[in-house]
């Protein structure tokens, strides 16, 4: 029986799990489908992480280096898991990569396949993401912020008025994503601050249903956004974005003032929520672990056990479980590592 633990996914959660396992003397195979580590923050060119505005590349770089430094971690880039045979503690994972197929024997598996951003084309409201060049999503703006090159795609010029629209693809019974994606309020506010830093003459608005600023985010992001950077928060979400002349007209209700509003913007940024990634969906299928009704991995005994799946010997962490911020990823990655290692070393593992 192998004591190797397979970690599927090399994003924040997977990296934390891999490093933690290796630090404890475990043997890890880290399987990542892209040809780089770092997950979504690197793939989507995130500029700065919420809330401290540290460069995503630098922060993730630290995590990646920490993993690479560990002797017990074998990193397989450009590999995906295509089959799983056997049962805990004797799994046989088939992985496929540029060199062909290979079988990995492991005693435990940690799923860290993360999320993907909601596709705004599926949104109930009429935001025109596929119609208007100047309607973008949070990750699109991240990419621009990273390059210090925030411009209107239609003109190539910097915007004078930019707005964020919250809850796109989340909290919607019709779409079926009946959950809050947790980070978008913080991320949008962070991006708003970055825009104000890079373009001091640009007016920035955030249209929201509720501002979700958990814990310390309240005064790390929300208060400075309003007080130092004069980002304008309007309680009233937008329903339509249409073109008028060379501007975009956004339509909503200023609910606290109790009147319909129609205002011109140069750019509209949709705060898209999180959905299970293709990797999360396929791992759920291939590994035979129960998804919840949204397609994320179901956890067996919430809230005190955050990582055990429906199948013995398999744990999940990070955004494969549902909307997660970076602290969640780091914490659940570590929790999964701890439980997996204890399991393969034949110690009892408490569940919940």
């Amino acid at each position: 029986m192998s004591e190797t633990i397979a970690v599927i996914g090399g994003g924040p959660a997977g990296l934390e799990a891999a490093r933690g396992l290796a630090e404890l003397g475990g043997s890890v195979v880290l399987i990542e489908k892209e040809n780089f580590l770092g997950g979504t923050p690197i793939r989507e060119n995130y500029a700065a992480l919420t809330p401290h505005l540290e460069s995503a590349e630098v922060a993730m770089g630290r995590m990646i280096d920490a993993v690479r430094e560990q002797p017990g971690v074998e990193v397989l880039l450009e590999h995906t898991v295509t089959a799983c045979a056997g049962d805990a503690p004797e799994f046989r994972l088939t992985v496929s990569g540029p060199g062909g197929e290979r079988e990995i024997e492991c005693g435990g598996i940690i799923v860290a396949t993360g999320f993907e951003h909601f596709d705004p084309g599926r949104e109930t409201q009429m935001y025109g993401y596929y119609e208007h060049p100047d309607v973008l999503a949070l990750q699109d703006l991240e990419a621009m912020l990273k390059e210090h090159n925030v411009v209107r795609p239609s003109t190539g010029l910097p915007p004078e008025r930019i707005c964020f629209v919250q809850c796109v693809g989340s909290r919607d019974r019709q779409i079926g994503n009946e959950y809050c994606s947790k980070v978008c309020c913080g991320v949008a506010s962070k991006e708003a601050i970055e825009v104000r830093q890079q373009l001091p003459d640009c007016k920035v608005f955030i249209f929201y249903i509720d501002m979700r600023m958990y814990g310390y985010w309240e005064n790390q992001i929300y208060w400075p956004a309003q007080e130092e950077y004069h980002v304008q928060y309007v309680k009233g979400i937008i329903t339509e974005v249409l073109k008028k002349g060379d501007k975009l007209l956004v339509r909503g209700e200023d609910t606290t003032m109790g009147r319909p509003m129609e205002v011109p913007m140069d750019m509209v940024i949709l705060s898209v929520g999180m959905e299970p990634s293709a990797g999360t969906r396929s791992m759920s299928r291939i590994l035979g672990i129960e998804p919840n009704k949204y397609g994320f991995i179901e956890v067996l005994n919430p809230p005190l056990d955050t990582v055990s799946t429906s199948r013995r010997g398999i744990w999940a962490c990070g955004a494969s479980l549902g909307p997660a911020d970076l602290e969640d990823c780091a914490s659940s990655g570590a929790a999964a590592a701890m439980k997996a290692l204890a399991f393969v070393r034949r110690k009892t593992v408490a569940v919940g």
Binding site: T124, Q125, R171, R173, I209, G252, E253, T255, P260
Partner: protein
């Protein structure tokens, strides 16, 4: 200071939602009817108070009307406010259902439909007032099976629609005969409806209680309708 059980100072001021003369029990009775309607659970979940419905609503731009306040009042179980809305707001809705894009799945326009039905059934004066001048349409639908007809295009009924209305009414008979579809040569109905069909429509309204609602809106109209239709039913040999 005397300790008494008089807590009237703490009660919400009835004047805020109006209709202080209507007993609360009566208001509650009507609102309970709204909530008991089969469709109500499909129309109201919770409310984010986000304003998407107002942003999409044409009536919100013209009147002091808000589908959000309709959903909020219902979600908050605010009987007084719902009653006020039943009296004052519901007839401003244009029933376009732009509001069904609600992320919670609410249907404020649908809530309003149910509020209106309860108002009509209860014979509220505000409902009758809102439907003044409208009852000719009810007569048209019930007596012909179509909701509007070409002979309704009279210049004094639609002066703002332009001079063509007068042209139509001056040439009505000829212009209707100049229509190729065989069913459209009528002037007092939209199209030529079979007698049997008309009676079936009447029977549907009779059996579902819709006819009784007409009595609440316009009693005189209801009487005429009943007389006319029951005669026709008799002629057709149908027992009611």
């Amino acid at each position: 200071m005397t300790m008494t059980n008089d807590r009237s100072a703490f009660y919400k001021n009835r004047q805020v939602a109006g209709y202080a003369d209507v007993p609360f029990e009566e208001k509650q009775r009507l609102i309970d009817l709204v909530k008991a309607d089969m469709r109500f659970p499909d129309y109201l979940y919770g409310c984010y108070e986000c304003g998407i419905c107002v942003a999409a609503c044409p009536s919100a731009r013209f009147y002091d009307f808000s589908p959000r306040r309709i959903a909020q009042a219902a979600a908050r179980d605010d009987t007084e406010l719902m009653y006020q809305q039943m009296q004052e707001d519901v007839w401003e809705c244009s029933q376009c259902f732009s509001c069904v894009r609600c992320p919670r799945g609410n249907n404020p326009g649908g809530i309003i439909t149910v509020l209106r039905e309860v108002a009509v059934n209860a014979g509220l004066a505000s409902a009758r007032e809102a439907l003044e001048g409208y009852s000719r349409i009810i007569y048209k639908i019930m007596s012909t099976g179509t909701q509007v007809s070409p002979d309704m295009l009279q210049p004094d009924a639609f002066p703002d629609w332009g001079p063509e209305v007068k042209d139509v009414s001056d040439n009505l008979d000829m212009w209707r005969r100049a229509l190729p579809p065989e069913t459209l040569h009528t002037t007092s109905t939209g199209w030529d409806v079979d007698e049997k069909t008309l009676l079936e429509l009447y029977l549907i309204w009779f059996h579902t209680g819709a006819l009784d609602m007409i009595a609440e809106v316009d009693e005189g109209l209801h009487m005429i309708l009943q007389e006319v239709m029951e005669e026709r039913l008799e002629d057709a040999g149908v027992e009611v």
